[in-house]
């Protein structure tokens, strides 16, 4: 069997795996953005001398975030199986994998958002307070636009991490490219599949990084 032939043979599988990867990474990323972004903003604005200053909230959130971040993903994956079953009615497939991927992506992204917000010049926030803006206006019109380049870099980073984690999710039946690489390449010693999937992953990560850098550059007015 020639190289070309064997690649053509796995194309349907590869295609399905690719779509599955995009699917679970996409869902987890959306959830990370939806929950992680407000969480990051809350982590930042509850710190000392900021308008939602509240050390109890700040410390509890920080503690919760650290707990999730300290659990290795492969363990989180197994530990969350009951929750996955509850939410999606199944423990296998890309949809099920999205649950643990989201849970791990939320605190990761929240910390990135928090540190992007920390980079903002305190004077700019003060100037907004001095004109009598509400906290909501300051978040929407000052904090988020000012942190946008950092947040976009963070999204890129989160996406790439999620692709890596999705392979781990694949090992317990999550599907996707990582799953394909492990099933064919690792268990069946099929180097063609292994190398093809690695090449696909390299291309995917490169493209994501390039797009992320470009967008981050375009929105950076500093």
């Amino acid at each position: 069997m020639s190289l070309i032939e064997s690649i053509v043979n796995i194309l349907p599988d590869l295609n399905k795996a690719f779509i599955e990867t995009i699917y679970m990474v996409g869902i987890s990323l959306a959830i990370a953005l939806l929950i992680g972004l407000p969480l990051g903003v809350l982590l930042f604005t509850t710190t000392r001398n900021l308008f939602f200053e509240n050390s109890v909230v700040n410390r509890s959130l920080g503690f919760a975030v650290n707990i999730v971040r300290s659990i290795p993903f492969i363990i989180l994956l197994v530990a969350l199986l009951p929750l996955t079953n509850l939410l999606t009615g199944s423990t296998i497939g890309p949809k099920a994998a999205s649950v643990s991927l989201s849970v791990s992506a939320i605190p990761f992204f929240a910390r990135i958002v928090e540190s992007a917000l920390r980079e903002i010049d305190k004077g700019v926030i003060e100037a907004a307070i001095a004109v009598g803006a509400t906290p909501w206006m300051i978040i929407k019109d000052v904090l988020l636009p000012e942190a946008r380049p950092g947040i976009i870099q963070g999204l890129t980073l989160t996406t790439i991490s999620l692709i890596g984690y999705s392979a781990m999710a694949g090992t317990i039946g999550g599907g996707g490219i990582g799953d394909l690489a492990i099933r064919y390449g690792y268990y069946r010693y099929d180097n063609t599949v292994m190398i093809t999937t690695i090449v696909v992953l390299i291309c995917l990560v490169q493209i994501i990084q390039m797009v992320g850098d470009k967008v981050s550059y375009l929105v950076n007015k500093r």
Binding site: A127, I129, M137, D141, V142, P145, R222
Partner: protein
Amino acid sequence: MIEIRSVRKEYISKKNRVIGVDNVSLTIQKGEVYGIVGYSGAGKSSLLRCLNLLERPTGGNIIIDGIDLTTLSSKELRKQRQKIGMIFQHFSLVSSKTVFENVAFALKAAHQSKAAIRSRVLELLEIVGLSDKKDAYPAQLSGGQKQRVGIARALANDPTVLLCDEATSALDPTTTKAILQLLKKISRELGITIVLITHEMEVVKELCHRVAVMQDGRVIEEGSVYEIFSQPKKELTKQFISSVLDFELPTHLVEESKGTIIKIQFEGQTAGESILSDTLQSHSVKGNILHGKIEYIQDIPFGILIIELIGEAEQIHSALEYIKSRSSSVEVLKHVTD
């Protein structure tokens, strides 16, 4: 009118307690340009930031136009803050927003309609002379232009008070002059009360009506700018004044001089030149001007002349008496006793 009543500000950390502002009471009249000077760490910045409660005073009251800011709810405070503009040393513009959007933000905070915001922003940019830069981002502007945007933003909601936090300290001398001119124009044409803090006496001389000198969190001297310049009482005040009116004579000049050296200070309508020429005409002494300067503070002349008088001791003595009778302050720097 701004009334600062027994304001204290303490910074408490785990290790120690630092007093930033120590029981300061000041009254600033409507339309006045009021300067607060002091070295860094004197508490002037803390005091200014207490005025719009960017820092909440530990004790005391801030009353602006009859409203005690320290008693307001956060919603009421936001409304009052719209009437207190503030500009900053490092401009503090939102870098991701254009000039137009930066100014518009202040109006948006006051819940203005889109159309009202648009026309008001254009009007403000006209006032500060930046109409052609409305779509530029702060990074594309010079320091002076950035401060103009800051001023436009501060004036957006027709404030009655403008707070200036070292507004010119990050600018070069030429730009500083231009910004001071703009602030002068704003004070004159809009009648806004301006409170500024600075460590540059030049700024005070140029702009202020009254000035307070701060040290270790306290106001140690206060008065009209003219008073402070012509009759400084505290050592620190004298130091500040000397940065503008410095009259150090080279020591060799003093040593080599054969006559009596005197320093005459003259104020207001007492023109120094006429004292000098009258003295020389009525006494047989020669006079050399060694050093001199006339400053116009609030358009009133204030000058210092250092003169060497040469002649017979008796004549010099009577010339000195004559000068003393006409000038507010005469100081003999070197007496010839031969």
